[in-house]
């Protein structure tokens, strides 16, 4: 029975204008995203060729990450160039997006399209699944047959999920195939397996919105009511909760502002320079003191900042959208954990450069950064976020099932 109902849903979708309009829109967005983000990536690659440090230069800068085409995350912050000297680390603008419009709107990457647009599309597939059948009288007709409500729910979910997933996978695969024709698209097997996993968790994410749509549809008697409720829930899950978490965490963890940090840094410098001028301290000792104090200050700042990030992430995880973004960006190597790891590597590099300078060496080792392996990404929280998405999926599906079982079909 599940197969019969799933087949009916697929045929029904294929025969409706709604399906074609929605799929056309989603396809257009995915293609546009790939086109825009790939061009942006190529621009940043060209930037990197210009700013990459020469031999022995004390600069930390990493090449653009090809997976940032799909999940840009913190890529811009990560690929800035960091100049190391006796006065510490100074950040340069580095590889910024050539597209100034990105400053006004979020980067239209694949994750954005899935997170915002396709989640809404999934809701549109689910919002009237039960209430429309009720309004049309076909629910009674279906359930007058030896069809269990579990089969009804499973068949409807499966049919609509396939109606959404198959065009999504086809369009995504086609987009990737077109990009791969360009010589600038360099994807090794490791990056490719991460991309496949990213697409897979996108499907899990879309599945949970479909389940949510069906759940609300089974709570209402009219499709219009279910649409209004779902639009409210969608904006809550996609926009409100992921932003509220950060605001709430800021109230709970005291992190000094960047301005205060710079002020403090300046004070340390002034104090030590005055001591040096007055002859109460030699220059080398002064630099050492400055370095040690700045390290302590930055360590303290980093610890507080990490606490803030952890708390924000946990609050934001009340919405599956946050888990999806965390999992997708960490998989792509543009996430918060990866960025923190890069920053710590840069600080270590600064220490090594500082030691070189103290020992009078002019040439410095080149900075290099190795992204975490897939296993490590999953162990560092990626697996938790993926599991959390699966939990949301199961939860919404079960709630939908219970609502369908209790639904008054009269």
């Amino acid at each position: 029975m599940t197969g019969t109902i799933a087949r009916k849903e697929i045929v029904s979708n294929l025969l409706s204008y709604k399906f074609f309009i929605v799929i056309l829109l989603a396809s257009l967005l995915i293609f546009t995203s790939f086109f825009v983000m790939f061009r942006d990536y190529k621009g940043r690659q060209a930037d990197y060729q210009l700013i990459k440090p020469g031999v022995g230069e004390p600069m930390a800068v990493i090449p653009p990450n090809p997976l940032s085409i799909f999940a840009k995350g913190l890529e811009e912050a990560m690929t800035r160039s960091y100049e190391v000297s006796l006065i510490g680390i100074s950040v340069r603008a580095g590889q910024q997006s050539g597209n100034i419009v990105f400053s006004f709107f979020p980067s239209p990457d694949f994750v954005y399209v899935v997170r915002v647009v396709l989640s809404l599309v999934a809701l549109l597939f689910g919002f009237d699944q039960i209430s429309r059948e009720k309004e049309g009288g076909t629910l009674r007709l279906m359930l007058a047959n030896p069809v269990s409500r579990a089969s009804l729910m499973a068949g409807k979910w499966l049919g609509n999920f396939l109606s959404l997933a198959v065009p999504f996978l086809l369009v995504t695969a086609l987009g990737i195939a077109i990009m791969s024709l360009d010589s600038g698209f360099r994807f090794g097997p490791a990056a490719f397996s991460r991309l496949l996993l990213l697409i897979l968790i996108s499907l899990v994410y879309l599945g949970l919105f479909l389940s949510l749509g069906m759940y609300v549809s089974a709570l209402t008697r009219k499709a219009a009511s279910s649409l209004v409720i779902l639009l409210f829930l969608w904006s809550l899950l996609v926009f409100v909760i992921p932003n509220i978490g950060t605001l709430v965490a800021r109230q709970m963890v005291d992190v000094p502002s960047v301005r205060a940090l710079n002020e403090k840094r300046q004070q340390i410098w002034t104090r030590e320079v005055l001591l040096s001028i007055s002859g109460r301290q030699n220059r080398a000792a002064g630099f050492e003191t400055i370095n040690a104090e700045l390290d302590r200050m930055e360590e303290d700042y980093r610890n507080r900042f990490d606490r803030l990030i952890r708390l924000s992430k946990n609050i934001n995880r009340l919405s599956p959208t946050a888990s999806f973004v965390y999992a997708a960006t960490e998989l792509a190597g543009t996430g918060i954990v990866e960025e923190g790891r890069l920053k710590r590597d840069i600080i270590r590099y600064k220490d090594s450069v500082f030691r070189d300078l103290q020992q009078g060496r002019e040439q410095h080792e080149a900075f290099s950064y190795r992204y975490r392996g897939l296993g490590r990404v999953l162990a560092d929280g990626g697996l938790f976020d993926i599991a959390w998405l699966v939990v949301f999926n199961i939860l919404f599906y079960l709630l939908g099932y219970v609502a369908v079982v209790r639904y008054d079909v009269r």
Partner: protein, 246 residues
């Protein structure tokens, strides 16, 4: 000759809704193969509630109803193998053609692997116009949709058929055609339970006619008995009488 066992049977069947309304009050009825049982009554008399109980859309408060000897509350999926249902307003799937609708519901009813010709045969049998077979149902008139609805019941070939006010809103010609199909199904040995407001057609097609009022079956007559009685007068008398729960 031994009397055939009833296909549809309600035993002391009652339904009280959560808001306290007693929609069905100790209903006892049975429908045997080759019989049409017409349930007459005003809106809210309990006719549709009785059908909903037979289809296990709602659980009974007391009593049991069986289809082909199977308790619908205990084993609803098994019981539903033996019953077809035609509702008052057969909407079906507007984007599907008549054949696609028929195919879907036939599969739900357990009839897979039917050929196009099988579907056409059933639609011809219910007098649906040939050109409508491959037309989208959203272009159909109510009469055409009702014919398609009965063809869904026919193709399932279940021994019992439940009809919830199937002729309501049909023009006289379409209603007459509908009754002809019902008579054929009865002659094939189907047990048919039909709720209706239409006294004249109930008298015409019904082998037994029951009048319901405020959830109770207040009168039951056989076709033979009705030859000597005026069903319209009986019905109106019952409707005008004092409320039962006054």
């Amino acid at each position: 000759m031994t009397e055939q066992q009833p296909i549809l049977k309600a035993d002391d069947l009652s339904k009280r809704y959560e808001d306290g309304v007693l929609a069905l009050d100790h209903l006892n009825l049975d429908v045997r193969p080759g019989q049409v049982y017409c349930l007459l009554g005003a809106n809210g008399a309990g006719k549709t509630t009785a059908i909903n109980l037979f289809l296990n859309f709602i659980p009974p408060t007391t009593g049991t109803c069986t289809i082909n000897g199977i308790d619908v509350t205990k084993d609803p999926l098994e019981a539903k193998k033996y019953v077809s249902f035609v509702s008052e307003n057969v909407m079906l799937y507007g984007n599907f053609t008549a054949r696609q609708n028929l195919d879907f519901f036939a599969r739900l009813g357990g009839k897979a692997n039917l050929t196009k010709e099988n579907y056409y045969h059933v639609m011809r049998r219910v007098s649906l116009q040939e050109k409508a077979f491959e037309q989208r149902v959203k272009t159909f008139s109510k009469g055409m949709r009702q014919k398609l609805g009965i063809s869904i019941a026919v193709i399932k070939d279940a021994p019992a058929i439940l009809l919830d006010e199937p002729t309501s809103g049909l023009d006289p010609k379409a209603a007459e055609e509908f009754l002809e199909i019902l008579a054929e199904l009865r002659n094939e040995g189907k047990a048919i339970l039909m709720s209706t407001h239409d006294i004249f057609r109930a008298k015409e097609i019904g082998d037994r006619v029951g009048i319901m009022k405020e959830g109770r079956l207040v009168m039951e007559r056989t076709r033979e008995e009705l030859q000597y009685e005026d069903l319209v007068k009986i019905y109106i008398d019952y409707m005008r009488s004092e409320p039962l729960t006054a």
